[in-house]
Symmetry: C2
């Protein structure tokens, strides 16, 4: 390496540190969010848990919504069901994947935190995008059988089979409840 590359190497080292810091903070912020609730997601708490100074956190994430957005990045792509082409199998599979995300990643806590943050316009857009992306597979399957008001109803109804018990009672539906919901919807399919 020529001496001319010294500063660049230094920058690369700094970049690597920033990347590591971002990943650490995102993971910690996500963990604080799902274990302690959105109220606990403060610079002080994340700094303490991640082992960084509050100054570092305020430098990279000036507001609490910046911390929140970073926490949501750490959510990554929640696993979806691999489509088979059979509508019943795919709806049941997708709802079980949603249930798995509630159990493994506390997606219910993420959903309710995003609803709380939606008083902020930027966070409202982040929330809408994440939920639109999340519903896309189930919408794609249901579009084969429904349209208009029935389609919108069926999407909310199937999302509700997992979302409602988890948000309202902290529980998830058994397999037979998920299958009953899919059968109720498909019974009306044209």
């Amino acid at each position: 390496m020529t001496p001319g590359h010294g500063p660049r190497a230094g920058e690369a080292g700094e970049d690597a540190r920033i990347v590591r810091t971002r990943a650490d903070v995102a993971r910690t912020a996500f963990d604080v969010l799902v274990r302690e609730g959105s109220d606990a997601l403060t610079h002080a708490r994340v700094a303490e848990r991640a082992g960084y100074s509050k100054t570092t956190l305020y430098k990279h994430w000036p507001s609490r919504f910046d911390l929140a957005a970073t926490a949501l990045e750490a959510l990554g792509d929640v696993a979806h069901h691999e489509p088979t082409g059979d509508i019943r199998t795919d709806l049941v599979g997708e709802l079980k994947a949603f249930r798995r995300a509630v159990l493994d990643h506390r997606l219910d806590q993420v959903l309710s935190a995003m609803a709380q943050w939606a008083t902020d316009e930027t966070m409202r857009q982040v929330r809408n995008k994440i939920n639109t992306d999340g519903q896309r597979p189930i919408r794609a399957v249901l579009e084969e059988a429904f349209e208009g008001a029935e389609l919108e109803a069926a999407i909310s109804m199937l999302a509700g089979v997992v979302a409602c018990p988890s948000l309202m009672f902290g529980t998830v539906p058994d397999d037979d409840v998920i299958e009953a919901a899919v059968d109720i919807v498909l019974h009306s399919a044209g």
Copy 2:
């Protein structure tokens, strides 16, 4: 009034003040919760908005969960649909009453805040009771047509038609979506 009653009259005056303070703080705490989100529901913010000292608030509501519980008291009894005995009319009416509570009382914000607070055991119990009470009318109607896994699925599905769009996208369903959801469920009724 004999002199002996002096202190009692004084107590009555103090009681009236306490009752008024409780009502003021409950109303303000509820307002802060639904307009600014659960993060904003702090002693400092409620004191500022209600015009009381922080000392007064900490004296009567030592923790933030005490403030939260008081805010939920102010929710009062959300209006339900008056049952007619016709299952379709009663389900559609109850879902429209739920939608009205989202629009008038931001019940969606209350639901997501309660989900966030449920990391605390007492708040979890408060949440479960409020949601059990809220679902009782729709459960009673659906019990006429369903049982077991189908009943649990149908309750979550109909709750989801209003809860999912409001929590996930900040919108409420049109009449035709509510009616489509009820018809999908009733199509499967035995």
